[in-house]
Amino acid sequence: MDLRFTAEELAFRDSVRAFFETAIPADIRRLVSEGRHLTKQDIVTAHRILNARGWAVPHWPAEWGGQDWSVVQRYIFQEEMQRAAVPPPLPFNTQMVGPVIARFGSAAQKRRFLPPTANIDIWWCQGFSEPGAGSDLASLKTRAERDGDHYVVNGQKTWTTLAQYADWIFCLVRTDRTAKKQQGISFLLIDMTSPGITVRPIITIDDAHEVNEVFFDNVRVPAEHLVGVENKGWDYAKFLLGNERTGIARVGLSKERVARAKQLARETPSGQGTLWDDAAFRMRVARLEVQLKALEITQLRVVAGSTQGSDKPDPNSSILKIRGSELQQATAELLKDIAGPYALPLPDAADDLSNAPAVAPDWAPYAAPAYFNNRKVSIYGGSNEIQRNIIAKAFLGL
């Protein structure tokens, strides 16, 4: 057993770190660090800088722009990205639809979609969830009926993250209504400019436009946009959801938040000095660091033990998701608590009365919205209850 990275791995880490800190604009990284919402342009800018360096899709097959990295290198890359508060390349492109097309798509689909997906010339969104199909995803009802060389799609998706920016949507649709739940589902790529698609915003509790409803009314989709085999979409979806083993823990992100919390606590007046002088506060931070260390080592065990390309479900991904989401939420909570009474003002909302004083400190109004927004991380991507069901059933045999 040895925790240390090799000299080559350390050199790799340093080069990645230097790149993130110099090549990605500081104002974008600051928004990420403060838990604020990025504009479309911010996300595209950061994504393309990474892609120009060959780093937007390092885990893809080499012929489509992937890097021949070891699992440890991939791990380091991801951690460093979070540590530097670099916005991750659009996950719908790089983690979800890209790997599915690369693995199951036709040669023509690969040629057509993979390069622009890697460079975010196409912005993808994920059309899985429906109003009646959340945790019970396989009960989805949006249907696609074959009509000559087209499918005709009718139904509704919801919670579609950033669909307002999307050029294309990858959908799970029902192609066989007679088959058992999971077996009549197909994986379809749909151009968002197709007639019959309506996108309606859903505003979240942090007053952001992050998710949408997407309606399909007799949308005609060329059959060539079916991925893989008809009625095998559930298998591809499982591959997609299991694709990201360790990234879900977001240890780097939580560590970055703790580092920021320490710095802000040192700047936040309290008592005779600052909040950082308060032993109880420092103990709270220390406890979070302990929990993050345990999660980090767990993650490293997974990284060290994993073989590339295995599709088998792994209890560890549920463990990483549960604890990782809890710690993301705990760190967002910590930052909100540091703001104290200054958690109250809404961002950018001060009515301008002339000569009036500023609402201060400037980071604080974003702390509570980030805390509210982070409640989502234990809901999406398989809720924490569903993750516990998986552990109990699949691994404990209960």
Partner: protein, 378 residues
């Protein structure tokens, strides 16, 4: 020992609950109130006055109804259920509370009947940025000049400070920034020269203001209570506010509990109501545990809010605030989780209750602050 309401209190509860249900029963109504210039409803304010709510805690001799902390609890719980946006806490409990408890006869006679009639809004400009939650940490100064005083300094997150007509301002007339002695309270007309206000909406849909006092002149008669000795009064009114907020939080938590359970009954996944999953049943049961602990402490807070022994009172209210904060957080987070995505949306009620509960936590001391107070006297 008695945890029951008297007949009069039950009557009050019935009429307040009815009014709030009528005014806030449809969540869309709240948005129309928020859209008014002050960020709350002038018409509702008049209705509160008509029902006697705005003079509830004031003595009959001062134009009030002689209610105590239990009556305030009844009103505030209804406010919590409705997620009311009007400045009841700021005007009646805080500003009105200072005048009620510390004002001389002339001040009480001038101010309290106007509040009760719905004609005067107040705010308590006390918190300063560097003070965090320490009530004695006051840097704003009041310098004697001629027969009056001149105020200099800045106050932050003054609840409903933007629409108040009359402010109660704490300022130092002696001593250093963190001395308990040397703080005085002043009545300041919000329109007085040198008062600079910046109002803003808060995360929970209410309003607050940053206020600067830039050489504001007040007469000697503007002082409330004795010079240099206002801290006990500030502590007393803060304790009243904590008791009031505890009741508000209980009202809000009750609604969150109810809508969560209702959702568990109706939301179907995997062909069954999600409330049939034992994992969710247990969390809903835990929410009720939290709610009832909070309710007990809100009652305790009401019964102790004007206890004669200040040290006992302070400890009791600190304990109440800790339980309230902890219950609010646990119950609020569980409510969102049990709903799934729907509770993340602005169009659904649960998130608004969660946000109000979160902001109540940040007012008048978080749990760390109050635990520190309790640990210090242990």
């Amino acid at each position: 020992m008695d945890f029951d309401f008297s007949d009069e209190q039950l009557l009050l509860k019935t009429s307040v609950d009815r009014l709030i249900a009528d005014a806030y029963g449809d969540f869309e109504q709240r948005k129309t109130y928020q859209a008014e210039p002050a960020g709350w409803s002038a018409a509702l304010w008049a209705r509160y006055a008509g029902l006697g709510l705005l003079g509830m805690p004031f003595a009959e001799a001062d134009g009030g109804f002689g209610g105590g902390p239990v009556e305030t609890m009844i009103v505030m719980e209804a406010i919590g259920r409705g997620l009311v946006v009007e400045p009841y806490l700021a005007t009646v409990v805080l500003g009105g509370g200072i005048v009620r408890l510390g004002g001389d006869a002339a001040q009480r006679a001038r101010i309290l009947p106007q509040i009760a009639a719905g004609d005067l809004r107040m705010a308590f400009a006390h918190v300063e940025r560097q003070a965090r939650y320490d009530l004695f940490d006051v840097a704003t100064t009041a310098r004697r000049e001629g027969s009056g005083f001149v105020l200099h300094g800045g106050k932050g997150v003054v609840l409903h400070g933007d629409s108040a007509d009359l402010l109660v301002v704490s300022a130092r007339t002696a001593g250093a920034r963190r001395d308990g002695q040397g703080i005085s309270l002043f009545l300041v007309d919000a329109a007085a020269p040198g008062v600079l206000r910046r109002g803003y909406p808060t995360q929970d849909g209410l309003r607050a203001a940053e206020i600067v006092f830039d050489g504001v002149r007040v007469a000697a008669s503007a002082m409330i209570g004795a010079a240099d000795a206002a801290l006990p009064l500030i502590e007393q009114v803060t304790d009243s506010a904590i008791a009031a907020l505890a009741a508000e939080a209980v009202g809000a938590m009750t609604v969150l509990q109810d809508i969560t359970v209702e959702y568990l009954r109706t939301r179907q996944q995997f062909g069954v109501a999600i409330g049939s999953f034992q994992a969710l049943q247990h969390r809903a049961a835990d929410m009720l545990v939290e709610l009832e602990q909070a309710r007990s402490m809100a009652m305790y807070a009401a019964m102790m809010a004007e206890a004669p022994d200040a040290a006992q009172r302070r400890a009791a209210l600190a304990a109440a605030k800790v339980q309230m904060n902890d219950s609010s957080r646990a119950l609020g987070q569980a409510s969102i989780q049990l709903h799934g995505g729907i509770a993340m949306t602005r169009d659904y009620k649960a998130g608004h209750y969660f946000k109000r509960l979160t902001m109540i936590e940040s007012l008048f001391g978080d749990s760390d602050h109050h635990l520190r107070q309790l640990a210090a006297v242990n």
